[in-house]
């Protein structure tokens, strides 16, 4: 099948093409073969990720998390057609709005991530580049690295990655933003799990290279 349309972005993983699919404004996510990796590995990664992404998008939607609807899949060719979300990247918006507004958006994100975690969905690549705001709503996009897991470790890594994304992209404001995120997250996931996940995040961070706090770890 051929797709005609405007290339919206050339992500690290896929080509994002704006198109019209059965009369709907849609996005084709084309996982193009990567010349740098072994052909077999390339085929496995592209088809597995396409299948998982489609499955998870469908489940997340059922849970009430704002995500694009799946319109068509072709795993062998790494093709996924989804609904187009017309909005602004949270990454750009967060640094431009007041802290109050940013906080309420982050709280919403926390709520959705909590909802996914509670139901065993791990996004796998939580960054503010993977969130789109439409009015007051925040859509979570790019489930390309997502997986199913109810393990504390997976949830912890998911949160850790998001915190790191905030630190590197929204440095200066990241502490406040993360706090707001956690507020929404705790609300949905429940106090007990929230505490366990946070403890896990702390543990994961201490695994990183050259962390000062590691010195103070009790033996």
């Amino acid at each position: 099948m051929t797709y005609h349309g405007q290339v919206l972005s050339r992500g690290a993983e896929a080509l994002i093409v704006l198109t019209v699919f059965n009369g709907l404004k849609a996005v084709v996510k084309l996982r193009i073969p990567k010349g740098y990796r072994d052909k077999e590995l390339d085929t496995i990664l592209r088809s597995k990720r396409t299948i998982t992404e489609a499955k998870i998008l469908t489940q997340a939607k059922e849970l009430g998390v704002p995500v694009p609807s799946v319109l068509f899949t072709d795993p062998q060719n790494g093709v996924l057609v989804i609904e187009y979300i017309d909005g602004k990247l949270l990454k750009n918006l967060l640094n431009a709005v007041s802290l109050d507004k940013a906080c309420s958006l982050m709280q919403k994100v926390g709520k959705y991530v909590g909802l996914m975690h509670k139901n065993g969905i791990i996004h796998g690549d939580l960054t503010t580049s993977n969130m789109v705001t439409v009015g007051d709503e925040v859509y979570i996009i790019d489930f390309g690295l997502s997986s199913f897991s109810k393990g504390l470790e997976s949830m912890g890594v998911d949160i850790h990655l998001f915190l790191r994304a905030l630190e590197s992209t929204h440095y200066g404001r990241h502490r406040e933003l993360f706090k707001c995120f956690l507020k929404g997250y705790a609300l949905v996931i429940g106090q007990k799990t929230y505490k366990d996940v946070l403890e896990k995040v702390r543990e994961i961070r201490l695994r990183g290279r050259y962390i000062e706090e590691r010195k103070k770890r009790p033996l």
Binding site: K34, Y36, E40, R209, Y210
Partner: protein, 354 residues
């Protein structure tokens, strides 16, 4: 921070014309290499580069043995470096030293020597972060200006770029570094040490003629992990379930592909259009080829630090020390204690444009 008067000294330069230059001597001793380099702020920048590398008779680096080796040879290396540069130590404007991150006992050798030189010869002392130094020397010798830096070595695996006055970490290993992964793999497969023979890593020799078999490929956002891959590869080997060359090939293929994938994510995320490979593993031809394909598909440009400067050396410490010294950054000898876990994103980079 105390501001030192930045002063220039007139010396006989290699070309025998007398020009004003600033000279910094740098000391590297973070792991297995004791390196002393002398640099200036004018071309040809690098005046001398002396080093000795501790090679363990078997197994990995034992910090105590490595540091013992360093303290035995360090005075010779300093003399050699000064001779090579054709200068007297009095002519040096500052002493730079890598205070971390690295192995404690080894770092202490460099720090002790640096403090002694600084005090005895009344020279300002400049504290240098080893990771920043790898990047800055890479930029100097490769010509990259504002790259996404992929720092791969035995002890480090990170994707970083200058943003807001610091090297921010956009991705790293959640467990073992890439160099450590491939060294451990070949060691456990009974192929090393030595890990590198004639400039070729044992994993590359072993991977020749190998075919792809499925092993765990783990990328978490912009981070990678290798311990699961290592465990599974060794399990297959011990159970005799796969051919040695297939294990080597697939393990290497997966580890390198994961690194290239997170690097591409870093490029997409930061919007940079240069990639700079630094660190010991950057010397790998296989890895470089993968990066070349990735950047050409993206329309970016690849810069690779030449092997002699991608491994640990004193020149990179001297050069970064010079940059820091020009921005007035020095440390009192009594405060110059080593920092084994000095993360790159804790260091202010005064020459950052963004």
């Amino acid at each position: 921070m105390r501001l030192y008067r930045v002063y220039y000294r007139v010396i006989n330069y290699p070309s025998l014309t007398r020009i004003e230059v600033m000279i910094v001597l740098g000391i590297e001793s973070t792991a297995h290499t004791i390196g002393i380099g002398v640099v200036t702020d004018k071309e040809p920048y690098i005046l001398s580069d002396s080093r000795r590398v501790y090679v363990p008779p078997k197994g990995g680096i034992h910090p105590r043995e490595s540091s013992r080796f360093m303290s035995e040879v360090v005075s010779d290396v300093i003399k050699e470096s000064l001779n090579q540069a054709g200068i007297n130590i009095e002519e040096v404007d500052a002493i730079a030293v890598a205070l971390g991150p690295g192995l404690g006992p080894c770092l202490r050798v460099g720090a002790t020597v640096a403090r002694a030189l600084a005090i005895y010869y009344s020279k300002p002392l400049v504290p240098v972060n080893h990771a920043v130094a790898h990047i800055e020397i890479g930029k100097l010798v490769s010509g990259a200006e504002d790259p996404l830096v992929v720092y791969l070595s035995g002890g480090n695996t990170m994707i970083t770029a200058l943003l807001g006055g610091r090297y921010r970490v956009f991705g790293e290993t959640l467990d073992i570094p890439l160099g450590n992964f491939q060294d451990t793999l070949v060691r456990e497969l009974g192929l090393a040490p030595p890990y590198v023979v004639n400039g070729i890593h044992q994993i590359d020799r072993c991977a020749e003629g190998g075919k792809f078999i499925e092993l765990p490929y783990v990328v978490k956002g912009q981070d990678v992990t290798f311990s699961g891959l290592l465990t599974e590869a060794l399990r297959l080997y011990r159970k005799g379930r796969a051919r040695l060359q297939d294990i080597c090939y697939s393990a290497r293929e997966i580890a390198y592909s994961a690194i290239v994938e997170v690097s591409e994510r870093g490029l997409a995320h930061t919007g940079k259009d240069e990639v700079l490979l630094v660190g010991g593993v950057a010397a790998s031809k296989t890895l470089r080829k993968k990066f070349e394909v990735m950047v050409s598909e993206r329309g970016a440009k690849l810069y690779v630090t030449p092997p002699e400067y991608s491994v640990d050396n004193g020149v990179m410490i001297a050069w970064t020390g010079l940059l820091l010294f020009k921005h007035g950054i020095t440390i009192e000898p009594e405060k110059a204690i080593i920092k084994q876990r000095w993360r790159i994103d804790r260091v202010d980079i005064p020459w950052a444009s963004t």
